[in-house]
């Protein structure tokens, strides 16, 4: 990585390229790679609360033929079925939205009809939500902080996010405990009622048969 004195000055530039570039020249360290099958779609989903910023970036990675990069189509749907992002025939794209409802957000990718070869496609996906999607460069510029102070500000943001998550988990646990206790009460109640239903039904049976036999003058 450190080639010599002259190359050192180029390294910050390379690092900037690494962080901001979406091209296929340098592998972007932040992303996850998925394989898109030659037919069918590949979907990733996440359960997200409401009022959370989602920022995602996707790009096709193809080292085999750099001059003829295959294209993909993408669709992002909200838990209620609304189409949040739809893009066709692109080698890269990005989408950003703020969630309006809690639920499962689905992002699906599929190969385009024009590139139906047998080879599988590799897609890089950079999916960030919440605090990870925060634009720290603009915060640094606006408040004129840099270096260690910026780092510590980011750590502070991360700690606040942890606290928020903890409160969310606590609420979820309370909700689930309530459901469990209600189910438990229902099991007890329904079992006793089933015994009651059994007794009632057998009494009705006996009453009906007795009436029937009396009518038919058998007893």
């Amino acid at each position: 990585m450190f080639f010599g004195g002259r190359a050192v000055s180029l390294l910050p530039l390379i690092l900037v390229l690494c962080l901001t570039s979406n091209s296929n020249i340098l592998p972007v360290a932040e992303a996850l790679w998925l394989t898109i099958p030659s037919s069918g779609t590949k979907c990733v989903s996440e359960e997200i609360q409401s009022n959370v910023v989602v920022l995602a970036d996707y790009y096709v990675v193809d080292e085999n033929n750099p001059d003829h990069i295959p294209t993909v189509s993408a669709r992002v749907t909200s838990p209620f079925g609304n189409n949040l992002h739809h893009n066709e025939n692109a080698t890269h794209g990005q989408f950003a939205f703020t969630t309006s409802e809690t639920g499962n957000y689905l992002a699906c990718f599929w190969k385009d009809g024009s590139h139906q070869q047998d080879a599988e496609l590799t897609l890089g996906l950079d999916w960030k939500i919440g605090i990870a999607a925060k634009d720290w460069e603009s915060v640094a510029k606006k408040e004129k902080i840099e270096g260690v102070e910026l780092v510590l500000r980011r750590l502070h943001g991360a700690v606040e996010a942890i606290r928020g998550n903890l409160i969310y988990l606590k609420d979820r646990e309370a909700e689930m405990r309530e459901v469990s206790e209600r189910t438990n009460a229902r099991v007890a109640w329904f079992s006793i009622m089933s015994l009651g239903v059994c007794i009632v039904v057998s009494i009705v049976q006996l009453w009906h048969l007795k009436r029937y036999f009396l009518k038919k003058k058998l007893i």
Binding site: F2, V151, L155, F190, V201, L209
Partner: protein, 212 residues
């Protein structure tokens, strides 16, 4: 000029080293094999993460067969291997830099949804400090702090995925209690009605015989 370069360099290095890999926990549906790739920049980085099988329909037996999880290094060796588990945490030191493959294998025909989280953490070592004079020892401490916070976040994501699975089980139990009990009552009433009809039928025939 030199000081400006130094500051920018420190900022760049900090940005790269501390926030190189930050990923969200995604869910993917595993039909047979699903592989996810993650790039590890430095040799010796700690790759940590967790995965939980979220959506699975238990019908009869509560023993979930589980899925297999394999991590393959860029050289083709299996770095980490977990078999037949329905969710676990993992952590290993990357033996070399490059593209690592994380594969989930589902041995059964029913598709499973797996929620996973992978984090690659780098802490500057003494070697990195010696190489670059702009790297302060404070950067090491900040990197360690950052990694500790990341581990808390990873644990939270694991708990969230496990909670989602538990909620799924609870909902299923609730629906079953209501559904099966109502069906049970209806069947009971139906069985007794059938019994009565059958007995009536028996006796109506023998009355005919008795007349003879």
């Amino acid at each position: 000029m030199e000081k400006g370069w130094g500051k920018m360099w420190a900022l760049m290095v900090l940005l790269l080293l501390n926030w190189v890999s930050n990923i969200s926990s995604l869910s993917v549906t595993v039909n047979e094999v699903e592989c996810v790739y993650e790039y590890v920049l430095y040799e010796g980085d700690t790759v940590s993460g967790n995965f939980v099988v979220v959506d699975h329909d238990i019908f009869w037996s509560s023993d979930h067969p589980g899925i297999d999880f394999t991590v393959t290094s860029p050289g083709g060796n299996t770095v980490h291997n977990l078999k037949g588990t329905s969710g676990d945490k993992f952590e290993f030191k990357a033996p070399r830099s490059g593209m690592y493959k994380f594969c989930f294998h589902n041995p059964y025909s029913t598709p499973e949804t797996v929620s996973f989280y992978i984090h690659v953490g780098h802490i500057p070592t003494e070697h990195d400090l010696a190489k670059d004079e702009h790297l302060d020892p404070i950067n090491v401490k900040i990197a360690e702090l950052r990694e500790a916070l990341e581990s808390v976040t990873a644990e939270q994501k694991y708990l969230k995925a496990r909670d989602a699975r538990h909620r799924h089980t609870n909902e299923s139990t609730r629906k079953r209690v209501i559904g099966y009990t109502v069906v049970e009552y209806v069947l009971l009433a139906l069985a007794s009605a059938l019994q009565v009809i059958y007995i009536r039928q028996l006796f109506s025939k023998s009355v005919a015989y008795n007349r003879v």
